[in-house]
Amino acid sequence: MLDFPTWKRAWLWFLTLAAVAAALPTLGSLAGVGIPGPQVNLGLDLAGGSQILLEANTKQVARQRLESMEEDVRRVLRQASPAIRIGDLSSSNGRISFLLDNPTQVDRAREELLPLVNGSGPVREWNLEVVDGSRFVLTPTKNGLDQAVSNAMDTATEVVRKRIDALGTREPTIIREGDTRISVQVPGLSDPEALKSLLGQTAKLEFKLVDTTALQSDVAQGIAPPGSEIVPYAPGTPLAGTSIAVKRLGGIRGDSLTNAQQSFDQRNNQAVVDITFDQAGGKKFADLTAQNVGKPFAIILDGQVLSAPNINEPILGGKAQISGSFTTESANQLAISLRSGALPVDLTVVQQGTVGPELGADSIRKGLLAMGVGSAAVLLLIGFTYGRLGIYANIALVLNVLMLLGVMAVFKTTLTLPGIAGFVLTIGAAVDANVLINERIREERKRGRRVVAAVEAGYKEASRAIFDANITNVIAAVLLFAFGSGPVRGFAIVLMIGIVTSVFTAVTLTRMWVAGWLRKARPSDLAV
């Protein structure tokens, strides 16, 4: 128990000093001295900044998936040779169903659809049923849908990251949270409005032909001719409040862009966005404009018409200009959004928070002060109560604080406001181990044991309770981490690391020191 060979002592000192050294950069920055190395991150509540939680509209993913499946089914059956003809294809309740014109083609149709149904990934994406001989029913599988949502979220997270990077803010933290949420933290940003409007924009750009056959009175009532749909003008445009009918098929999407830049229209000095298509997109755009010279086409952003100019001549260079009554700022924002790609799914802000920098600085100052005063009181109390053993415990306590800081820095953990409380609490609780041990030594001495035997029994008997007590604290901290979010997690992390470092310093290190002293001084009495 009290036997510490040299290699073990060296190893323990090495661990201690390494952890303490890791704390130096953080301590340096508190004192205003620059020491290179990883530091403890400050959470938003301490550093100041904005946090927003975005939630994806998963129903939309399901709907989009259904729409593209519809198109794929039509295409595949039409392109089969000989073509497989089908009756009306209807989709309701998330399912697609259609009737084959010729029931003898059931097996071939099934064959053709199989690749679509199985999808390209490891999970089957749709269930295919044939009812009443020739009616096909396609139902999305849960796995397939989950996969689609997950993919959409990955893309969305990436797009969010690109957009925030384009703003030039420093060190944003963007993480997926749960299945359908993205948490964004931007330190130092005190006004999140611009960020929110940037991330709230899906930026799905479409070019669709205007259905000129639609009657104005029908459009006003929201009735679209077959094959067309009604799209409203975007707020702020000259025709805002009215709608227009566009053809559902035959348009192109603006997701194949290589660049988008805000600029000004030469004629009226209005803010516009210049876009450049990639090769394939440019070719489609050229085809569309070449085939429809003289007709109007609508530029649609996120389901709202920006403008519907006439195609005066084919646009062959792969470059186009979007005007839509922009301000310089909104045009710039749209350019950023288009450059970063469209969000595969709409995101809405479900939670947001902003902390001013003054509040955080004040919290750190007061937290440090409380920590200083609290530790001083504990050190005095322990020192006066346990004498020499108390001094060992106190050195251990100071080392514990430094090691805790060091370990947090190495793992780049984030210190939050509740984390400061965790820190202070760790100081109060860490000495519990020493109190247990020292009280036990006192007891054993009172029973008449000699110093060495009493110390040995003290450490041995107290260890059991220390171990159990720390395990229960770990259980609480782990659950806190698992269920908590943001700042509360920061608190849980401090508690967990604190438990490990405090057992190390309060039990192992003090035992080593006491053992060394006993061997050297061979005391016959111990004031405890």
Binding site: Q352, G353, K460, A469, I471, L480, S485, F491
Partner: protein
């Protein structure tokens, strides 16, 4: 130098003699607390009910103009705000529940935030917005549910651990002590209508951990004494164990209270509720490990036989506990 002794040697207080009255009082307090939580309700923060919270500091004024502020903000038509002084007299927290038509509409709640902030800024030129948070109804509901799950799981998991390490009676005793601590703390929050948010749940989970420290120390001593004094009557043995560990209990509670007091008095104002909850919990937890966790063993009928066949396993665990690797 004479060393400090907070608990004199050979202290022998007959704690267990008063177990019936104390138990009755505790049982009454638990029931009263639960009743309070249900009747009076907790003053739930925006984390749990959704809504908006804005922290404003008036940089040029000594005392925040609360009355004018209330008038100004209530005039916006979003319902009656809760305005409280937070920390210093020139700092206020403004809380709004989300009106029904806004609750499920993130865009509307966003507009509401902007309106409120603009109204404050235009009326009070020295107002500085320090903290602004807005939580939608959906998220807050989830936060509340997971927080309650976390509390429940923590209590169960810890009790099961105690059961495994000791005996089932000890597990039940620990669970009782935890229920006592958690319900009394929550009862206090209901009684004084202190804001109950996510941080407070974190505080309660911390209390659960630390309150168990005391319980475990007492239990560990009870187990040790049971092996040592096989013939001793249980009430006597429990008293002995509690007295033997009393010096440690007092000392540890004192060190934790000292740092908590420092945090309460000079720490950040926004941590006040959090620290107050833990402080309260430390008191309640210390009491419960003596008066809830120990006496229940008498009623559940623990005796030294519980540990005789267990010794081998116990010894093994001891080795592990000492970290002898």
């Amino acid at each position: 130098m004479r060393l400090l002794k907070l608990v004199p040697d050979d202290t022998n207080i007959h704690f267990l003699k008063w177990r019936v009255p104390f138990y009755s009082v505790s049982a009454f307090l638990i029931i009263a607390s639960i009743a309070l939580v249900f009747i009076k309700g907790l003053n739930l923060g925006v984390d749990f009910v959704g809504g908006q919270q804005i922290l404003v500091t008036f940089t040029q004024t000594k005392e925040a103009p609360v009355a004018e502020l209330r008038e100004q903000v209530a005039g916006l038509g979003y319902g009656e705000p809760v305005i409280q002084i937070a920390g210093n007299k020139n700092e206020v927290s403004i809380r709004f529940p989300l009106p029904e038509d806004v609750a499920d509409n993130p865009a509307a709640s966003d507009a509401m935030t902007t309106n409120v902030v603009n109204a404050i800024k235009s009326e009070f030129k020295d107002a500085r917005i320090d903290d602004l948070s807005s939580v939608s109804g959906k998220v807050s509901g989830e936060l509340f549910t997971t927080a309650m799950y976390a509390l429940g799981f923590a209590m169960l998991a810890i009790s099961i651990y105690i059961w495994v390490r000791f005996e089932w009676q000890f597990g039940v005793g620990a669970l009782f002590a935890l229920v006592h601590d958690v319900s009394l703390t929550m009862g206090m929050f209901a009684l004084f209508q202190i804001e109950f948010d996510l941080k407070i749940v974190a505080a309660i989970l911390t209390i659960i951990g630390y309150s168990l420290n005391d319980t475990i120390v007492v239990y560990d001593r009870i187990r040790e004494n049971m092996k040592k004094y096989r013939k001793m009557q249980l009430p006597e043995l429990l008293d002995l164990s509690v007295n033997e560990t009393l010096a440690r209990t007092v000392m540890t509670s004192l060190t934790i209270l000292v740092v908590l007091l420092a945090l309460l008095l000079i720490g950040p104002a926004s941590l006040f509720g959090f620290t107050a909850a833990i402080t309260l919990g430390i008191f309640v937890g210390t009491y419960s490990s003596v008066y809830m966790a120990a006496p229940i063993l008498i009623w559940l009928g623990v005796d030294s036989h519980s540990f005789v066949p267990e010794e081998d396993a116990g010894d093994k665990a001891d080795k592990l506990a000492r970290g002898e690797v």
